[in-house]
Amino acid sequence: MAGFLALSEAVGTLINDGDTVALEGFTHLIPFAAGHEIIRQQKRDLTLIRMTPDLIYDQLIGMGCARKLIFSWGGNPGVGSLYRFRDAIENGGPNPLEIEEHSHAGLANAYVAGASNLPFAILRGYLGTDLPKFNNRIATVECPFTGEKLAAVPAVNPDVSIIHAQQADKAGNVMIWGIIGIQKEAILAARRSIITVEEVVEKLEPRPGAIILPGWVVTAVSHVPRGSFPSYAQDYTVRNNRFYQDWGNISRERESFLAWMQENIMADSGRSLVVGY
């Protein structure tokens, strides 16, 4: 059964330097608060996995937490560039960042294989692209029945996966609804997991389109209201589009980025940011 832990304790006890860590949430329920806690605890040499490294990964990379990034699209969605991600790849700052790059279809299937405890996934993908030239973890297999050539990618099995969800009950069963992305696969693929939730309820009520992660597959649940700010949690909080638009200016230069992180994340629990923005 999942244990209820304070977020600082969950991050402190479950994530080690050098671990492979996935923070998922496809444009919705992005676990910002957990990412900030990783930054505050100054975890190092992480291999970070995320289909869409966006603002929270820009912050993790810019604060020197990452050694390697496994991803399929890195940008500020609907806005533009991620300057810290670009700085790391273009200039090696603050430290060199190794990358393993996929398409969405490839990485989504790698999570499915991980959740299924299979060694690799197959898909009809990557045809004609240059990606396999630079990523030796994209291979080709032949279908034993038809002879069709298909792409193969190895399973991803993070040491720790982290997601944000709307609700947990007191037994640690977790419910997510709205855009559900790759969260279920990310948790089931991982050795350990942390789920931050908006609310802890007596009983989870059935909802159309909702998914449940039973407490017995989850390592730790932390009650963190607004834990996905500035992304959103459907039926709880709305997306703060202004923050996404402001992020470009905050993060464009290393100095302004570090000053902002120091003031809003390192020296503060991050809560005043959430409330005040």
């Binding site: 398409s103 898909l123 389109g209 959103y232």
Partner: protein, 256 residues
């Protein structure tokens, strides 16, 4: 009575893209011009057009243009919402989507696309966002419409990186790779519309937007652009299309 409408080049591109969508078309939509075009089509001539956003919102019917594919309104107005592996496996890879819209940082004469890097992969001058859903959209949707602004640094002789295939090296090279779908059928720019030659698959200027000259389009293309013998003028936006598009945009959160 002649009446001169004024509209922006973005509006021209959006309307041209919308006009390519038929009623009942199932389209895979990204944020920006494709999203505006698909919603404009839905509000005008193609009310049954099905909009699929990559976030898994199937049949979304937003009343304003989303800033992100994660905007809550997409999930709230969708017929149903699915997890990501289903988006790519059951719907895209299985061939259930008619039209995919793609943007690009670079496109070449065969409609191949780069969204990965400018410069070398290992030491890029500019690191771009990368592939996302594009490589499989490019090969699995029944056809692809590319939308981007035309200038010589975007319409290049040679891509810095092949992120998503168009017509590869032309002719039947796309089919020879084992791809069964049509690939890019149109490239819409602020200057005109390019379509692949039926045989060679080389992008050819087939339509010019009102007020644009062939010389302008050639100057914006780094290769020696072929011009169709029966070059036509694009249908410009009409007042109704402009009114609906502007209303969609004025309702959009966080837009200037």
């Amino acid at each position: 009575m002649a009446q001169t409408l004024t509209y922006t080049s973005d509006e021209m591109m959006t309307v041209a893209a919308a006009q390519m969508l038929k009623n009942n078309t199932v389209c895979f939509v990204g944020i920006g011009l494709p999203s505006a075009a698909a919603n404009l089509a839905r509000a005008t001539h193609a009310p049954k057009c099905v909009l699929i956003y990559e976030s898994g919102t199937m049949g979304a019917k937003p009343t304003r243009l989303p800033l992100s594919i994660g905007d809550g309104e997409l999930a709230e107005t969708a017929d149903f919402v699915i997890p990501l592996p289903e988006v790519f496996n059951y719907w895209l890879q299985a061939g259930r989507i008619d039209v995919g819209f793609l943007g690009a940082a670079q496109v070449d004469r065969f409609g191949n696309i780069n969204t990965t890097v400018i410069g070398s992969y290992e030491k890029p001058q500019v690191r771009l966002p990368g592939a996302g859903g594009a490589p499989e959209i490019a090969t699995c949707t029944k056809e692809v419409i590319i939308i981007l602004r035309q200038h010589p640094r975007a319409f290049v002789e040679k891509l810095d990186f092949m992120t998503s295939v168009g017509h590869l090296t032309g002719g039947d090279s796309r089919q020879k790779l084992g791809i069964k779908t049509k690939g890019p059928t149109a490239v819409i720019t602020q200057l005109g519309i390019l379509r692949p030659d039926p045989e060679t698959k080389e992008l050819t200027l087939t339509e010019l937007h009102q007020g644009i000259t062939v010389e302008q389009v050639k100057a914006a293309t780094a290769w020696n652009l072929k011009i169709a013998a029966d070059l036509r003028e694009t249908q410009p936006p009409n007042p109704e299309e402009l009114a609906i598009l502007r209303a969609l945009q004025s309702r959009s959160e966080g837009r200037k």
